[in-house]
Structure formats: C-alpha cells, structure tokens
C-alpha cells in the first residue's frame, strides 16, 4: 500500500501511531513492509491456504464473534443434502461438469428454498451468469432452514469446519513457505483485535485479484471478517485498493460489457424483448434488490428521456444484448479471428499492461482500424512500427493494414469530474487548466461523437438507428472548446423527479417513469441541487466520520451495512465501537453515520407474511442487499467456482497441491485457448518445473504508474526509476550466476525479456514442500516508448483467467532466469522454441 497508494498510506501511519498493529503479508519486503509491525512472506499464489489457515485457527480456537456470527451471517443456514464438498470429491464441489469445466450451483442451495431457475446459466460459454456481482442473486422462494445452535451437520458453520479442517499451521507452512510461528502471530493478532471492543480491517489490491482464484481470495477474507464480526463496523471491513483513481467508479458506472450502471445486469440475448422477465429474473424477493424495476426504469428514462414509455417497455429493446463472454481477452482473441475489426482504446495500454503482450500486439495487427486516446503515444498506438515483434521480424510495418488514429486526451487536471474511491466516496475535481492543443476530455469526445452521429442519422427511418436517435443527448457545453458540463452529467446520474428537481435518495425512485436516474446507487449525490461530491468541509470542523466531505454511495453512507455496528437489540456492541444504534424513544435508527437500514424498522421487527423487498427483512438483518439479509460465509449462488474458497495452485505452478492432487489448479478456471498462449503444464509438472523452475510475479513501484503512460514520459518520474529491473534473492543470484546491477534474461513459455538485476534480501527464498522456492520479482511499467524504455514484464504471462471476472493471473506463473542480455532478432524466437521443446510445450502446434 505504501508502494502503490502512498497518499492513502498516511492513514495507516496515523492508525499505527495511535496503536494499531500493521501486518504486511507479501512475497516481497516492500516499502509497506518497512513501516509495518510485521512482514510475513508467503509464496505468490498461495493466499487461500494462508487465509484458510486463519479460518481454521478461528474455528479451532473458538475465536469467532458468536453473537454476530449467529445473527448476522448465514452460519446457521442449512445447505441442501445434495451438496458435496471438495473434501468429499477430491477437490471439486458437487455440480461439476468436468467436460466443460464448469459448475451448476443447484446443490449449493439453502434447504427450505426452492432453487430458482437459472436462465442465464444455460449458455455454455463463460458468458453464463455474466451476472456475478450484479442484481439480486436468485435464491428462490421460501425461508432457509436455520439451526441457531450451529450444530446441524449441514449448517454452514459445520460445513466450514469440515472444509477448513486440513488448513492447519503445518499445511500453511508447507504450502505458503511461511514459518509456522509467524503465521500464528498473524492469526493471533487478528483475533486479539476483533470482538465487541475492537475491529480489524483487510486491505488488498491486485496482488489478490490477479489470480485464477482471485475472487475466492477475497471471499476467504470475507469469511474471516464475518467470523470475527468485522463488517459494517468502524475500523473493520475489506478494502479494495484500486489501480487507478476511479476504478471503483468505472465499475459503478461501468466500462464492463456485462453490467449497466449500479450493477444492473446487461440483458442477455435470451431475454430479448421480455422486459418483465428481465426484471423478475434480476430482482430479489428480500432486500433492496426487490426494487430493481424502479432502478432500471429510472435508468432507461435517463438514457432515453421522453422516448421511454411504459408502452414500449421503457425502450428495453434499444439496449444491446450480450450473448457470450465479451471480456477483454475474449474480444482480443476475436481480433485474431477477424470477428472484431475495430478497437477504441481509452486510457489503457494493453500492449504493455495486459497479460501476454505479444498476443495483444499481434491481435492489433489484424484489425482494420484502431483509435487510441491517451496523453502520449503509448505502445498500443505504436505497435505497428515499434514493438518487440517488429524487432524480432515477426511483424513488418508494410504488411500491417491496421489504420491507427492517435487522439490526444486531457488529463484529470484539465477537466471537471469525480473520482470514486474504495470507500465508495465520490470526490469532485475541478479543472485547473485548459487542456493543451487538441487534447480533449473523454466526456467531450463521447458527447460530440454521439452528437455528430445523431446529426448524420437525423431523419433516418431505419429501425436500427432508432436507439441512437431516441437517446436523451442534451448536455450544456461551456467555453471555447464546447466542453460538456460534467456537473450536468452528475446531476443526471444523481436522479431527478417529475418536476426536474434532484432526488434525495434511491428510495424515491419509481417504476412508473416519473423519475430519471443514471445510476441508482448514486441517487441523491446532487440532492438539493448541490454537487455533493464537491463538498470539502475540513475534518477539524466535523466528526471523524466526515459526512460533509464528498458523498458516498449508497445514500451517503460512509460504512456500508452499518446496522451490524449495533447488537441485535439495537444497542452498540460496545461504547468504544459505537457507530449506529436504535433510538427507541424516537423509534428510529440513528448514529454518527447515516444508518444503512430501513430507518424505522425496529430491531425486533419480523416481516409480515408476503412482505417483499426491504419489508421482508428482519430487524436483525444488516446485509440489506443480500436476498436473505445475511453475510455469506457460504455462497449458495452467484459464483462460478464454488461456494467455499479452496486452495488451488496457480495455473502455472512448480508445486503440488497438497490438498487436492487430482485438481492442482482451479478446475473451473477460464482459459483463452490460443496458439500464442502456450502454458507450462503441457509436458507435466516434473518437466515444466525443471525448465521453468522459478515463480514470476509482477508489481508496481511508487515512482511509476501502471503501464507507464503517465510516468515514463515525465522526466521527474522517469529519473527516479529509469530502468526495468528484476529483483532476486542472493540465493537465486548464486544459483544462476546473476550479478547485481548486471543483466538477466527471463524466459517463460511465452516470451523472453531482459532486465537489470537487483539482488536483494527483500525477495526471500522460501522453503515450500521441502524445496527452496525462488521468486523473480518484476515491476511491469516499461515498454518501447517514453524517456525510459525497457522490456514489458507482462509479456511473460498467460491467459488463464478467473472465471468470475475474467482477470488474468499475472501474480504467479513460472519462469527461468539466466545471466546476460537476451538475443536480438530471430535468435530470440529460437531461444524461446528451445525452451518450449525442452519443457514439452507444443511449438507451432506440434507436440515435441
């Protein structure tokens, strides 16, 4: 966190000064470790084993927060008798279709609830359930059976016990390489810092997500936090640190193919024309997803204005449909196959930032056209005349037909807008200067592009043009460059009522077309015609919750699910951790924060028969977005790779899976099958381990920004980290003859790159399963352009993905490292082929 979020790290330092214990678990000793109370090394890619070990510790030593656990989580829910655990089936859960490497989740359901038909799941590609994380998860009708004594053998609590029984400290040590006593110190400290009087928080970044089991990493942390009662309480939580300033914002108002704003699912082709089916399938009978229709209709009114009416199903037919996986790696494969012919790239640099850069650069060479909008000429824009493939002779400029348009973009300092951070906090930024020359904001580009297209189509009677012509595309523009007003867009996102006045909260949204709201979870951010994200009351002038600073979704709640900060009877768990509580005299929830609950629903409320949505919640159900109001230790529906996190090795690994030898890596992981993406498992573990014996992992440095577009072209930043280097332990340096400050060549099944060598004890060798495991640490910022250039670390990595979110596994793969610089020209490909031949990896499709 100190490395990649130095500004946010000030609050960790503040907490530390006030007595918090800071623990850093990371394969490397980083700037964060330097300031932590404890650095705990572990092998990259083994975190579920580590976290599962903590779950085991909590259960074994009965350190869980019992009252919280029983009342607020699904620990007491009884699971279907058809359910089988990985412990029963040698590494897979029940419902596994081995041929298609995917699960059906019917057997994971709550007993007493009729599992709902999972229409989206019928598609046999990875597009199915492109609804993970969106809408209300369908659980079916009825009340789940519960056993509050937690003794029923099929209740979640007992299933958890069985599932994690083998995650002992010994197992952690053998799998993660973390010394047992160090692991136990972490488990102990975490438990000691939890309970009614104390809370503990997890902070993670892409070191957790960029794995074939990335979602399950975070799920394991969720289990720990729910067991310890650390969700919905001050000082608790699981905080996702983002790679860019508004990545949270770009999932809330998504740049993702499978989501509409506010986590509404993108309609699937199967629901074509059936608006009510779409709403029914994505609403939940219990909780605030019960109002999905209100959210959706208000969105359509924001999109299409007066054109959206009840008679035309609010223009539901105008929305595009998804029919399969259209995520980044899949559409890039489509470029190779000729199904994707054009490409708009905004603020991304896939030639450097995406896994297996060669796959991307060769794909772009197969496009008809490409538009790159960026601050500088990034590698993605110059692949056709300057790239590793041009250098090796694989690509020849005169043979590339792709027409590339490079358009200058405005930086955040040159435009108005908001950032949404990990706390769901919207903070406004004002333009400080005009963008230089022809540089324009993305808002300017999209607005005027839409305007020009609409002018071209004006008068068209073609049905296909209707959607574009029906758009409500009226935004005021300002200044000499006709910049659209970002505040007008925010106002539309925040929602307006029938009189055009901004709404106060999402509970005011209606399904009758009288309200318009661009993103229901942001509803109220412009309440009172005030740009609330722009509020900047200093913290000295308000309480520590700082409700006058910016605006947080949903409904300006600074801690989500904060009903859990009070005991079931509505009183604070402790005076020290008082936050939100029930005021019996007033008959309302009150507190330092806005209560994330129905304001007048008493703690002893039990729903009327037939009650729906939030009225169907109990007064003790803090998790108001969940269809049962509970925090989920066990996920009965919504995940593609199992209801409980299980340790699997990375897709490329040099180690056995001690738990499940039959299923070394995630059985449901997604692989983009392509000849340009060979994996080091083709020749078997022993052979692969011999040729590629080391763990490769990527990361960022404070001095640079992601794929380098914002730092490698800036002198003051480039001089701080002017060359691509790899970090290796003194032991590995000795083993391979690497010289400090010399050069090394790093080889994977996919690429050969070179880097300067930094020999340091900060990347420790770890003993895993009886063998010393060495890690090659690779900051991934460099490419062929800019003031400082170098090979791209991501070229080494592959296209095995997490099945839930399609993210690449660039945090753990296998490689070799050797002293000296890499070969130039065709000799580079010869070296790569030699490695593949030795590892038994098919070369040009032929097994050798």
């Amino acid at each position: 966190m100190a490395e990649c979020h130095p500004v946010g790290f000030q609050w960790v330092m503040e907490a530390k000064e006030r007595g918090a214990t800071v623990i850093h678990v990371d394969p490397r000793f980083t700037r964060t470790s330097a300031l932590a109370d404890l650095h705990v090394p572990l092998r990259a890619g083994s975190d579920i084993a580590f976290l599962g070990g903590i779950v085991n510790f909590i259960l074994t030593h009965e350190r869980y927060f019992a009252d919280y656990l029983v009342e607020y989580t699904n620990a007491s829910s009884v699971i279907s008798e058809d359910y089988r655990d990985t412990e029963d089936l040698d590494g897979v859960f029940s419902g596994f279709d081995a041929e298609n490497r995917r699960y059906s989740h019917e057997t994971w359901s709550y007993e007493g609830m009729e599992p709902a038909a999972a229409a989206g799941e019928r598609e046999d590609s990875h597009a199915s359930g492109e609804r993970t994380g969106s809408g209300g998860i369908e659980l079916g009708e009825g009340e789940p059976r519960r056993d509050r004594s937690l003794e029923h053998p099929r209740c979640v609590f007992q299933l958890l016990r069985r599932h994690y029984a083998r995650y002992t400290p010994e197992f952690v040590e053998q799998t993660c390489g973390t010394p047992r006593e160090l692991f136990l110190r972490v488990a102990q400290a975490l438990c000691d810092s939890s309970g009614p009087e104390r809370t503990a928080a997890f902070v993670y970044a892409v070191g957790w997500t960029q794995h074939t089991v990335g979602v399950q990493y975070i799920r394991t942390a969720s289990i720990i936090q729910l067991l310890l009662g650390n969700i919905g309480r001050p000082g608790g939580g699981i905080l996702a640190l983002r790679g860019h300033a508004s990545i949270q914002g770009s999932t809330d108002i998504p740049t993702l193919y499978n989501l509409l704003p506010g986590y509404l699912p993108m309609p699937h082709s199967e629901h074509y024309g059936e608006f009510h089916q779409y709403v029914e399938m994505n609403s939940a009978p219990v909780g605030f997803w019960g109002h999905m229709e209100e959210y959706f209709v208000s969105l359509m009114k924001a999109y299409f204005g007066d054109a959206a009416t009840a008679d035309n199903q609010w223009c539901f037919d105008h929305l595009p449909r998804i029919d399969s996986d259209h995520s980044a790696y899949t559409f890039t494969k489509g470029m190779h196959e000729g199904t994707v012919r054009g490409f708009l790239v905004f603020g991304e640099n896939p030639a450097v930032g995406s896994s297996n850069g060669r796959f991307h650069r060769l794909a772009m060479a197969n496009l008809e056209w490409m538009v790159v909008r960026d601050l500088v000429e990034i590698e993605t824009a110059s692949f056709w005349y300057r790239s590793p493939e041009i250098e090796s002779g694989e690509l020849r400029t005169e043979e590339i037909a792709t027409e590339v348009f490079l358009l200058p973009a405005a930086a955040h300092t040159e435009k108005n807008g908001s950032f949404t951070n990990t706390q769901r906090l919207l903070q406004w930024h004002h333009a400080a200067v005009e963008p230089p020359g022809d540089a324009r904001s993305d808002l300017w580009f999209m607005f005027h592009l839409g305007r020009i297209i609409r002018e071209r189509l004006d008068g068209s009677t073609e049905p296909r043009d209707r959607a574009i012509l029906d758009l409500a595309w009226e935004y005021p523009t300002e200044g000499a460059i006709a910049e659209p007003s970002a505040e007008a867009v925010l106002r539309e996102i925040g929602g307006v009522g029938p009189d055009g006045a901004p709404l106060n909260a999402y509970t005011e949204l209606r399904a009758d077309g009288s309200t318009r709201c661009g993103c229901w979870i942001y509803c109220g951010c412009y309440a009172g015609d005030v740009n609330r994200p722009a509020r900047r009351t200093p913290r000295q002038l308000q309480s520590y919750v700082a409700r006058e600073w910016g605006w947080a979704w949903p409904d300006d709640r600074r801690i989500i699910y904060n009903r859990a900060s009070a005991a079931p009877n509505g009183e604070p768990w402790s005076e020290r951790k008082r936050y939100v509580w029930w005021d019996a005299a007033q008959g309302r929830w009150t507190g330092y924060d806005k209560p994330d609950f129905v304001p007048t629903m008493a703690p002893d409320h039990t729903p009327e028969p037939g009650a729906r949505a939030e009225r169907a919640l109990h007064g003790t159900d803090p998790f108001v977005m969940q269809s049962d109001g509970k925090g989920w230790l066990f996920v009965p529906a919504g995940l593609k790779d199992g209801p409980l996190p299980t340790h699997y090795e990375p897709a490329e690994s040099i180690h056995e899976n001690l738990l499940h030898p039959e299923h070394r890596s995630n059985p449901a992981l997604q692989v983009i099958q392509h000849p340009l993406d060979p994996h080091n498992d083709a020749g078997g573990l022993a052979r692969g381990r011999e040729v590629f014996p080391y763990v490769a992992t990527t990361y960022r440095l404070t001095e640079h920004h992601t794929a380098g577009g914002m730092s490698r072209f800036v002198g003051y930043l480039s001089e701080l980290q002017p060359e691509f280097f790899c970090e290796v332990s003194p032991e590995l340096a000795a083993e391979r003859g690497l010289e400090h400050a010399g050069w090394a060549t790093i080889v994977s099944a996919r690429a050969v790159i070179e880097a300067r060598v930094m020999v340091t004890e900060r990347v420790p060798a770890l003993r895993v399963q009886g063998r010393m495991t060495h890690t090659v640490g690779l900051p991934y910022h460099w490419g062929t352009n800019g003031l400082v250039t170098g090979d791209s670390a991501n070229d080494l990595f592959h296209l095995a993905l997490d099945p839930n979110v399609h993210i690449q596994e660039v945090k753990a793969a296998t490689c070799d490292i050797r002293p000296g610089r890499r070969p130039r020209g065709p000799a580079l490909l010869t070296l790569l082929e030699d490695y593949r031949r030795r590892a038994g990896i098919p070369v040009d499709g032929a097994q050798t």
Binding site: A34, L35, D37, H39, L720, Q721, P722, E723, A741
Partner: protein, 284 residues
C-alpha cells in the same frame, strides 16, 4: 489562523512564516525518518516548484535510490538503506530486515560555511533564518562547494552557478509551506518554527525510545554543535554514517579567525627571524 491539519504525531503546526504583526519567524524542517515511506514525493514536488532540471536517467542499483545524493539537480534526496538487523528490533524492522528511508536536504546551518566563504554575497541569510543562493548574484566561483561539510551545495554544469535548497524562500514570503513538506503524505517532513519543531522532535524521540527504538536520535537539533545547529534537522534510526551523513559536522570557517591569527603570528615570527638573521649577518 492558517494551520496545517493535525499531523501523524498529533501536532497542529503553525506553518505561517510571519507572526501576527507580520514579523518573520525562524522557520525550518524537522525530517522524521521514522515516518518516511520512501515515496519521493518531496523530490518531485521540489523540482516542480523550483524548476530544478532533470538530474539524469541513471539506474544505480543502490536499492531504490536512483538520485544518489543531493546536488544542483536534486535538492531533496531520499536515501534507501537495506540492513540485516536483529529480528523485530524496533520500528522499520520486521523479520530481520530493515529498510531505512530518509529524505535528506540542505541543513540551513546556523553557522553556514557556504555563506561565510561566498565572495559576492550571493549566499545570504534570509529573514527566516534560512540560507539561500541568489541566482542573479552568484558568479560561479565555487568557493561554497568545499565549504559545506555535508556536500550539499553544487554547481550546475551548463551555467556554472551554485544551487541548493532555498527552503522555498518564495513560498515562505507568502506564508506557504515549502513544496516538499506539503507533498509529504506521512508528515515525515514537518515544517514550522524551529523552536516548536525542536520540542516536537524531543517528544518524538522519547516516544520512540518508549517503543523500544533505542537507536532513535536527533541529528542537527543541538545549537551547540559544530555548525550551530541545523535549520533543517533530522530524526534518525541509526548512526548518521549509515545515512551518509557526517557524525560530527564542523563549519570549516569556525577556526578561520584562529587560523588567520596563527598565520599572522607565523608570518610575524618569520619576518622577525629574517630580520634577526639579516641583522646577525651584518654584525658578522
């Protein structure tokens, strides 16, 4: 009153360079290296504000330090020191490794060698007690360079003049914090009145000692030291030498009077000797 937000060490420092009557105050830095996270924001903010040119694209291999030292092109320099230490022997030490980070800067000595030897008056003591080179007066003679016991001041090759940290003299005149202190996210660099900073620093050392960091010490906070105390002093977690700092700096001009006196005495003695010899010869 403009005050900085409460800091990590719970002090609300008064960052105004003038008192209520508009009189300048003695201002300086307290760089608390126990709070440094090595982000180098200080280096960059300094260069941005002061238009310091780039300092070269050299990868040194010296941990994460590619700046190397203070120079005409780098007025803040974050040192990175990787150490093997006893396991868990205090702050910044976990698992047997310690990675010290420290942002170095011109010390703005109370007795400044650079200022003493400057023949043109380009180097001056400001109303805030800081030491500044006036770039329009400096003639590039370079006398100041060997006069600095820390190797801070340096000449720029392309113009020959001497450059160093100004403690953002222009910002101080407008009651603004220096750029590096404002950019520092963890308040490792604190800016304020020297006396107030010294009091905070003493308390901080006591706190760290209480937490078991027995080696924590102040460097340059004592007005009785060889340079009369620093206007920019430090809290270090190890010996100064570990950070590349002289353990007992002395302003080279301190003995100037004595040296000139001795030289004069020697000259007189010599002259007397010559005269005596001449007289003696005559006699003979």
């Amino acid at each position: 009153m403009i005050t900085a937000p409460p800091t990590l060490v719970s002090h609300a420092l008064d960052i105004r360079s003038h008192d209520d009557d508009g009189r300048p105050r003695h201002m300086g830095f307290f760089t608390d290296t126990s709070l440094c996270i090595g982000c180098k924001a200080c280096e960059v903010a300094c260069k941005e504000w002061n238009h310091v040119p780039q300092d070269g694209l050299r990868w040194t291999g010296e941990s994460y330090d590619n700046t190397g030292c203070l120079s005409a092109g780098s007025w803040r320099h974050v040192a990175f020191i990787e150490q093997r230490v006893d396991r868990d022997s205090g702050p910044q030490a976990t698992g047997g490794l310690r990675w010290l980070m420290a942002s170095d800067v011109c010390k703005h000595c109370a007795q400044a060698g650079c200022l003493d030897v400057c023949p043109t008056g380009a180097l001056m003591r400001t109303e805030f007690g800081t030491v500044v080179v006036q770039e329009d007066v400096c003639n590039g003679c370079g006398y100041c360079i060997p006069a600095c016991p820390f190797g801070v001041i340096d000449r720029r090759e392309h113009d020959g003049r001497a450059w160093k940290c100004t403690l953002c003299y222009d910002r101080l005149r407008g009651d603004l914090e220096p750029a590096c202190a404002q950019a520092c996210p963890t308040k490792s660099i604190q800016f304020g009145q020297i006396d107030e900073l010294r009091a905070i620093a003493d308390e901080r050392v006591r706190t760290l000692h209480g937490r078991g960091a027995a080696d924590a010490r102040l460097y340059g906070a004592d007005p009785g030291d060889g340079v009369g105390g620093f206007g920019a002093f430090f809290l270090l977690l190890d010996e100064p030498e570990v950070y590349g700092l002289p353990p007992d700096p002395v302003v080279p001009t301190r003995n100037l009077r004595g040296m000139w006196g001795a030289a004069a005495a020697a000259a007189l003695a010599m002259a007397a000797g010559v005269a005596a010899a001449a007289l003696g010869t005559r006699r003979a």
